[in-house]
Symmetry: C2
Subunit: 130 residues, 2 copies
């Protein structure tokens, strides 16, 4: 498993959007902005049961995350990896992400919505940052 260097981790810890690529049932790419963080060497994001990206991940856990370097208009990091989905800690995690990006706990909970925490184990890292 490739390690993430400090420059990459700094970008993942900042309030920067990641652009998540997943694969649709018809074989096309889906791209969504997601809030992102990192635990150890694994990027982590959050979604909810039933969303298209969640259904895509259960069908094919191979993902790509692309994040622009906020300090360099030509810098970005692309992390290719495998997603692992869990409900454990997912509620606390969406609040923590929300505080990072909006300054307060997550405000958009819906009745019955089940949050999912997604860990990405990197298999390939391409970076032009640092």
């Amino acid at each position: 498993m490739p390690e993430l260097d400090d420059d990459i981790k700094k970008i993942l810890r900042g309030p920067n959007f990641a652009h998540l690529g997943t694969v649709n049932a018809d074989g096309t790419a889906q791209v969504n902005p997601v809030w992102i963080d990192v635990e150890g060497d694994r990027p982590v994001f959050n979604t909810a049961v039933g969303r298209r990206k969640e259904r895509n991940l259960r069908r094919d856990p191979r993902v790509t995350l692309e994040v622009l370097d906020p300090e360099d208009p030509y810098g970005y990091v692309e992390i290719v990896g495998t997603a692992e989905l869990t409900e454990e800690g997912a509620e606390d995690h969406i609040d923590a992400l929300s505080r990072k990006y909006t300054g307060r706990d997550y405000q958009w909970r819906r009745p019955g919505q089940r949050r999912i925490k997604v860990y990405v184990t990197p298999t390939k890292v391409h970076s032009s940052v640092g």
Copy 2:
């Protein structure tokens, strides 16, 4: 072909990065930041012969473009479509894009590099902007 409304065109005309999703040979999603513009109802970006995204597009022209709304932290547009590649006008086009994003003509030409202009004909538009 879905039309792009004025709010979407405004975002595509501004100096905002698009996040391009293409499909790799192994069926995974590739995500790259690209400079973007719009001609009529077709988003247009630029690449070069031999790059991975160009090879992906020749194998499978189905693409997804995602662009954040710079005026709304939760707004973004996702355009799914089919790519058409041409060398015609591609050199002028990379200069025009470069002027929009950097204020001057494209500075990174390499000997022998052939630029490609890519038109995207939308098949589906998902937008939370405007």
